[in-house]
Symmetry: C2
Subunit: 266 residues, 2 copies
């Protein structure tokens, strides 16, 4: 996410200086080699007087790093890209609350690390800004300008509402994809099964490739909403199972037809 954002910023604006910070030394080397960043630092102090600081790291890491900033200049904007928002927003030190903008760009791929960076990851995609009225006036304008310049569609939402929605649209589907991959891998002859995979299975299992580091954090931070979404999903799946078991084919047809309607909205 961070690497792709750096590429998008460089495409959009001239004369930027982008500084990278990562606890993984190999990622630092790769980011330099791929020219995602102009230099690397291992000192958070370096960022204090920059125009923009982006936290594109796992959600638990975001909360930790936020505590490192005691104060920031009025002109500094600090944006996080975390996939959960409530716990992050609650953890922001009051002294830097106006500097902070809570954002969730609804984009990404199952790949991660600097080598996964692609310049067009953000264009045309949605970004959710949470509790934006708590951010400073400059920071609100600055964040909106950047996301708009990069061609993103901005949605505004309370952090709590975001987390409920994100559980259904993103977090629970990741649980399904991981569970689907593990289901097939545990069969007697997974290779024979997987040899038959068509596009449907490939699509459904793609996000089961996602980083366990990142997703363990997200599941922890959005535990209650995730469990609720999983339970709703299980209800639907059990309805399908019951209709098949009881051979209620007309009702099964109607149930599938209902599902088709999603794509009138999506």
């Amino acid at each position: 996410m961070g690497g792709s954002f750096a590429l998008a910023l460089k495409d959009q604006y001239a004369n930027l200086e982008i500084i990278g910070y990562d606890h993984n030394d190999q990622h630092c080397i790769e980011a330099l080699q791929l020219q995602l960043v102009d230099k690397i630092t291992d000192d958070l102090e370096t960022f204090y007087d920059r125009d923009l600081i982006i936290l594109a790291i796992p959600v638990d890491g975001i909360i930790q790093v936020l505590q490192e900033f005691d104060s920031l200049p009025e002109t500094t904007t600090l944006i996080d890209f975390g996939s959960t928002k409530k716990k992050i927003v609650d953890s922001v030190p009051p002294s830097i609350r106006k500097n902070f903008v809570a954002a969730h760009p609804m984009t990404g791929t199952e790949k991660f690390g600097p080598s996964a960076a692609i310049p067009d990851l953000y264009r045309g995609q949605v970004v959710v800004l949470c509790n934006i009225e708590e951010s400073g006036e400059h920071q609100q304008k600055f964040a909106k300008k950047i996301f708009t310049d990069l061609g993103m569609k901005i949605f505004y939402m309370e952090a709590q509402e975001h987390d409920r929605h994100a559980a259904f649209i993103s977090h629970m589907p990741h649980a399904l994809s991981y569970a689907l991959a593990n289901t097939v891998m545990k069969q007697e002859n997974p290779k024979a099964i997987i040899a038959l995979a068509g596009g449907g299975f490939r699509d459904m299992s793609r996000i089961a490739k996602s980083s366990p580091n990142m997703w363990t954090d997200i599941f922890r931070q959005n535990k209650e909403n995730l469990i609720r979404a999983v339970q709703c999903f299980k209800g639907e799946l059990e309805r399908c199972e019951a209709l098949v078991t009881d051979e209620k084919w007309d009702e099964l047809y109607t149930w599938m037809k209902e599902a088709n309607k999603l794509h009138e909205i999506l």
Copy 2:
């Protein structure tokens, strides 16, 4: 499936005559307009002496149409493209068993009807041939030649084994996608949720667009295997749910890491 196959055949071989047959008149008109077929017939007799007959229709329809053929010339090959195989293979009249080849091309899109036809749907994809030793020598050679010429990878399998595998790799994932779509559609504010959809959700819900006609038939024909696959999946999802509920984050990490391994095989 049928339209795309016609396009692929026309790309590959010169001087073909392709005749279409469909109970849907509108589809007949479209297939002619799109030049998927050279003519349309409403009489199955027309096909008796052709080199190749392809049944690319819902699986219950395949079983019905197979009963219409009392006998076929030794040089005629009759191939079905059904997504289930056991009940189809069992239903073939003995008088045409040598003419018949049971095939399942593991490809397709969520779209259907003549307008969904694309010429490169088959190239590079897998086709499963079932109980091939029951087909005539000419039919075996002919079918293998066509699928090879079209750039497909051929797998051989017993019909029963195919249906077990297809339940895991294709039928159960369709149930998940339909259930996911219905889960989101039944929430209080589905539009607000769906507005946030990124690539993961789009991929996971794509096949929920599939034809209820076709998939009701498939679920009926592969009932037992489908239910078993759904139960295996539910076991995995419930494991995930329990790990989150009990806050066993290290075990959740390991569970996700296991799922990552799928992509070493896929």
